[in-house]
Symmetry: C3
Subunit: 364 residues, 3 copies
């Protein structure tokens, strides 16, 4: 890329801890929530209990009984279509309505726990903790690689003691690979000097592409897909708030991948769900999907372990970074040429948080 | 009880963390403090060192040396009638007067540590950390079951990371038994639908009674006292700030227990001393006394273990509840019909804390 | 000393936590920093990375990369004359100038990390985190016992969770020896009643002397230097901010030590470097030097272990004291006759902190 034109420093709030409530976030993997199970979650500082009723519906209620404030998730039982408070046995349905107060015949109409919009799609449970009237189900992203039988996928979760935007920054600036992930995936020949980097914004999304053309296939690629000669490699990243899709692939060199002919070769789809728990804590749910050697269970396990080992390297680093930034959160940072995607993403978050703040002001 | 008349929501401060300093609290069991021993305690956020001198007197001093602020309890030694600071050896008597400064012949008159009123009664050490001129020894409750030879008793202590009023709430609303204590005492047939509940306030005390008449004797009761047929059961609770007395008993059904004829049968006296350490931490000292099978040491142990196991179930729950309530301490809660005692108790605490605040204002 | 004249309570701020940035502090022992090594340090709340380049120069930079705030010490590598950020590989030289941004040809002139004055002298690395224009190298104290071949010395470090002035107080008032160090060095016959204590201030230094004349030699002294009869003992303490020198010695009684004739006998030089990390945490680096039995390695080890055991006794106490004082930091304390050195030292700190504050005000 051109080294002569420096990306201007964006005029955005620098705090890494902006919470955007008006957004769909992944609260859990569907598989984490069997019928009758409950889960404690926190999204944008809202304490939640998720539970799945006998008929399979998923509910998200405030995790606080109306009677004495007890978290329903701490020993509360889901039975039939209700969840029961572990303290005095009050019961609530999936809509948060109180359906039983032991020893009391009449239940006041006001006796309800706040319920939050939930959508289960593509093996993920999406929750909305913002203004209820803005929870548009159409805005829940579709992710075909979790449902398309041509693809096999695996997943895991990390709880990271760092603000969610630090995870976003991390994933949008891949120049960290060779430093942070040297011992896992990063002995990576996508060397920064050669990589062709571009970033564009489209509405509330950012697209970053990194290309390396006509390079020797690294051992990982040879082993995966048996490349014989040189390859063309790409990493395409699609950012939206709380979600980053990552398309990493390679084909034989000069077979036209960059012009759109990407048949054959290696294709990996990484999903990164970045769910802010608090200003300084993030639930990070990630999956890896592939459409080759789909019956190779050992490979599935290996990819899962590799992803986990890699993201744990990020986690260790981000938690240290978080503590340092928290000492002086408003101090300026310096963007480099590798931050062209980061800068767009930060700007989108700042815009949406500003809008959200304006709406809250108006409804007061 | 009538399900049609809901208890009105009390107009009281809802914070679970009101500290009432003008009150006698149990700081320790007498048995914890041998002559020459010291104990670190905290009551209503006042750090204390308790010690018992050679002649048996118990003293409560501020746990902070006048010289360099060292806590006297942290390695300080009680010798004869004084306690010696572990740092530079200053000595203080039970009244807090400095009696020695090593290397210095004259001791300034102002050289004294604050001392607090202490009363030892019925095997408990009561301490007053409020306004000294209000420390009326007559207000220390009498508890005959700790001194009457017809009764045998056992005791224990828990340090609970929850505000003291959450413990009060817990003990005054027994509808939690069948949910929280299902695996210990709570597989209890005092089912809420059948229990007859009443609560009255008398000055600064609240009395709650729960009756279950003509019911089958549960296994515990049969085993304890050999009931053959049905029984009448009661739980009578007497609340005052910092102390809850609990009388649990049973006689043969229809033998007139509710009318006052309670001879024979089973009688258990539980004492619950609820000593606020800070706004969010409570020292919970409890005893169980009985007047049957008084020589059965195995039974004493068993009752002690059962009480401890039961209150640990409460502890786990209350600590979770405390953290949730602390996130938004002023938010409203909903009282149920089971809170008739709780509501009285909260009102008494609110009144006394308000009075205390008014007195503090006036003396400024 | 005369018990009739009480030392007046000083009119100084009582907070134990005044941070004096305009001062040279020992950040590390030279031996801790091999070429190519990095160390994380904090001095007066300034996070630092120390590193030693290939050519042996020591640098102290702010421990925060300009790009994303990552601490350079957390996995950053020192290579040649630069340190490399562990996250995206930015490089900085010993002056803090950015010398490489991977993937970017031009490096903005503003791209630099703050660097701090460093001086290596007498096996210690001294750092200045205050106003750079006031960092006078001439004010770094000289300590010959670390470089004079007639002396042998050993050292260690403790991280103490207490404010730095509590350590100063501790070392200037030795009346704590017989209480705190009873089980290590303190079965000490320098009993307070007999010790002759004096303290003088000279500019920014305080000198405290404690003499005990014509006393029986304690076992430690006999074993060390084979005293046959009575001895004269002294402890001379020189305080300056952040550094306390301690000269402990003994000669045969009546051989004129107090008049200046100190040949022969036992001579120990203790250095106490007291480096404030935060208001409530201190790095405590200490050394013990002697000029007798200099080839006795077992004795060296023994003295090192004795010093460590002794200062750990202080540490335990100071950490408890810190927590108690922090509950009410502005409350008055009572000085005793043993605080004559302490009072001078506190006044010097208060004066210098006040001056520092005035300068900061003026530059605003």
């Amino acid at each position: 890329m051109s080294p002569t034109k420096r990306v201007p420093a964006p005029r955005l709030p620098r705090r890494s801890t902006l919470l955007l409530k008006d957004n769909w976030y992944v609260g859990a993997w569907s598989a984490e929530l069997e019928p009758g199970a409950t889960l404690a979650r926190r999204i944008c500082d809202q304490a939640l209990v998720l539970f799945r009723t006998e008929t399979g519906a998923v509910a998200a209620l405030e995790d606080r009984c109306i009677h004495r404030g007890m978290p329903l998730s701490q020993g509360g039982e889901c039975e039939g279509e209700i969840i029961r408070c572990p303290y005095h046995g009050l019961e609530f349905n999936a809509q948060g309505m109180c359906t039983k107060i032991p020893g009391q015949a009449q239940i006041p109409a006001a006796a309800r726990v706040i319920s939050f919009p939930v959508i289960e799609r593509d093996a993920m449970i999406w929750v909305w903790v913002g203004a209820a009237d803005r929870a548009d189900p159409e805005r829940v992203p579709s992710y075909p690689y979790h449902r398309d039988p041509a693809w096999v996928w695996t997943y895991d979760t990390l709880e990271v003691k760092a603000g969610w935007l630090l995870l976003t920054d991390n994933l949008l600036d891949l120049s960290h690979l060779q430093y942070v992930h040297r011992r896992t995936i990063g002995g990576d020949p996508l060397e920064d000097g050669r990589a062709q980097l571009s970033a564009t914004r489209d509405g509330d999304r950012v697209f970053v592409a990194r290309w390396l053309l006509d390079m020797a296939a690294p051992p990982f690629h040879k082993q995966m897909c048996g490349f014989a000669g040189n390859i063309d490699r790409w990493q395409e990243i699609e950012f939206r708030t709380g979600l980053i899709q990552f398309y990493s692939g390679a084909t034989d060199a000069n077979s036209g991948a960059r012009q759109g002919r990407r048949d054959g070769g290696m294709h990996l789809r990484h999903l990164h769900c970045i769910t802010p728990e608090t200003e300084t804590r993030t639930r990070y749910l990630f999956s890896v999907a592939r459409n080759f050697r789909v019956d190779d269970a050992a490979l599935t396990r290996r990819l899962q372990q590799l992803a986990l080992a890699t993201f744990r390297e990020d986690q260790a680093l981000l938690e240290v970074q978080q503590r340092r930034l928290a000492e002086d959160p408003n101090r300026a940072l310096l963007d480099t040429c590798n931050d062209i995607g980061t800068v767009h993403a930060r700007r989108i978050v700042a815009e949406r948080v500003t809008e959200q703040g304006r709406r809250i002001e108006q409804t007061r």
